[in-house]
Homo-oligomer: 341 residues x 2
């Protein structure tokens, strides 16, 4: 239906340049075995004819697509955007293209669908925060399909993954709040099926322990990383007879929602309640008060995931395990010293 016959192929180029099309193919693939003079002539011809190699054909014949797939849950928060920025940069350097899949679209399909679907379409897959990672991982590992996970861990399986020091980040953040004088800190968790969410919770608990502050189960609200959870969680805390003086949410989106809940009760951030987030998504610096948070190097995570995937592509037998990038506390204006009551 959309067939343009004016396409020029290597055959045309070969004819024009007076060589066999095999030679043209070599030039395209930067094969060393071409006389520089010939190469130049072919290149010139390609330029003149405005030739572009057909990717489909290359893939079919070569077994490689020069495309990698990216599976993301959503594009809503800018969190993913940052990661893509990193992936994209690496991909561009390597001459690869990006195929985007949103989980939403394939969520209804059976497990293994993704790796099936992707078979032949892409050389490898980067999965960001997959919902049911074990489903995918099983079938991908089994099929020996190259993939890398971003920001996930905890399935027990040993697989290439890029994350950040969630435990340490949460530990440091909690410590920071404690240093500010806060002893009653409400914690809103992420989706606890994700290792990253568990680690953040554990880091929080560890910091309490270190500072000999008793852990109170009621000061933990189990969320799912969704905005609403931040609001609901904070509201529950604030309605307690003895509410916390600080709230630490497991991601920025929930933290921002928590700030809303605080303000809705006529309280101020940070004067009355300190609020801390996690991620440092772009809008963290845009909201008012700007959000104190734990920065994950999202862009870099994307970059490194891509590099690891390339490594695997080059050497499928190499074993890669989880790589953790350092988190960092970014102090802004949503946290303050505890006011003496």
């Amino acid at each position: 239906m959309n067939k343009r016959k004016d396409k020029i192929t290597i055959v045309e180029v070969a004819a024009e340049a007076g060589v066999s099309f095999g030679t043209v193919s070599r030039v395209i693939n930067n094969d060393v075995h071409v006389k520089p003079q010939t190469r130049e002539r072919v290149l010139e011809t390609m330029r003149r004819l405005n030739f572009v190699a057909n990717r489909q054909a290359r893939s079919l014949a070569g077994g490689r697509t020069n495309t990698i797939g990216l599976l993301v849950p959503d594009l809503g928060t800018g969190y993913i955007g940052e990661i893509i920025r990193g992936i994209d940069a690496e991909l561009g350097d390597a001459g690869y293209d990006l195929m985007l899949y949103t989980t939403h679209r394939t969520a209804t399909k059976e497990a293994g669908y993704v790796s099936n679907l992707v078979q032949g379409m892409v050389d490898g897959l980067i999965l960001v925060l997959p919902r049911n990672p074990s489903d995918y991982i099983g079938s991908m590992t089994q099929r020996n399909f190259p993939f890398v996970l971003i920001d996930h861990q905890g399935t027990g399986e040993d697989c290439p993954a890029i994350g950040s020091t969630n435990w340490q980040g949460a530990f440091n953040a909690t410590n920071y709040l404690i240093k500010l004088g806060h002893k009653r800190i409400g914690f809103i968790t992420g989706w606890l099926d994700l290792g990253a969410a568990v680690d953040r919770l554990e880091g929080f608990k560890a910091a309490l322990r270190t500072n000999k502050i008793p852990f109170i189960q009621d000061l933990v609200y189990e969320g799912t990383f969704a905005q609403l959870d931040g609001y609901t969680g904070a509201s529950r805390f604030l309605d307690m007879k003895k509410p916390p003086t600080a709230i630490f949410a497991s991601n920025d989106v929930m933290a921002m929602a928590a700030m809303d809940a605080v303000r809705e009760r006529g309280l101020r951030v940070p004067e009355d309640i300190s609020v801390m987030g996690f991620d440092d998504i772009p809008q963290a610096s845009l909201v008012r008060p700007s959000l104190t948070t734990v920065r994950q190097p999202l862009e870099q995570m994307g970059r490194i995931a891509t590099q690891v995937l390339f490594d695997i592509l080059k050497n499928p037998n190499l074993k890669h395990n989880r790589i953790e990038l350092p988190t960092e506390i970014i102090i802004r204006n949503s946290t303050a010293k505890l006011r003496k009551a």
Copy 2:
């Protein structure tokens, strides 16, 4: 390097089902000329063998890729995310895949590169806010390559594009500010090479005219839709001997930055200065004060762009022109009645 020979092809399926592979192909393509009984048998076999058709091969042989390309400038603000959501939904329904290109990556390449690159990779292209649209449009039109523009207009060329009623939106917004009592309104423009940006400016001017408020050139700051422009523009307004009482920025990102500038001077939004944005990106409702803005139906724009592209794919000769979706004022907390001085 990444060749899995365990892949099953239509040949295997054909053998198993006891038919020729031509018949299997027909089944895949829902060809009517297959006995229902045979079809069922083939389908069953495909299921059993876990067969997935190779897209590359289909494309090569059939001339169609079932993939569309999306060219975006960036993924930073959530603006694009909303659009993608819409595109993605339509694509999913049609069994199409999405190839993502960021302009940044290809910005250095010569004009026409994109359509070249894309030739053979995708069946069509959706361009969001292209920087030098006329470059692309020329070569794509010439090559008769199917494409749709989102949120752009004004190259003079007649081409399929989806936008929103920018003029009307800006007109209504300005009117709203005037109704609140504001007479001195600072306007921060977008990148005036984009028709959408010009329209917003014109809508603003028209509203002043309608209300018999003199237009003051100094109260227009020429920006580029970038965050910094919002800050710089607002700062310039505020440093005037007689600063405006309201600021209307051509997009939300600049509006949020403008709010920062206002606050940095110890002024309050909206008590001292009202601020209005344009777009209604997700974070518009998250910032404090939440941003009064002109809503563009971004997701719907993505959906419709996709539908139009499909139309063009089906019927390349059909002429499509610009489609405008209605904008809508969303009143939140960054605007207020002018306080009597």
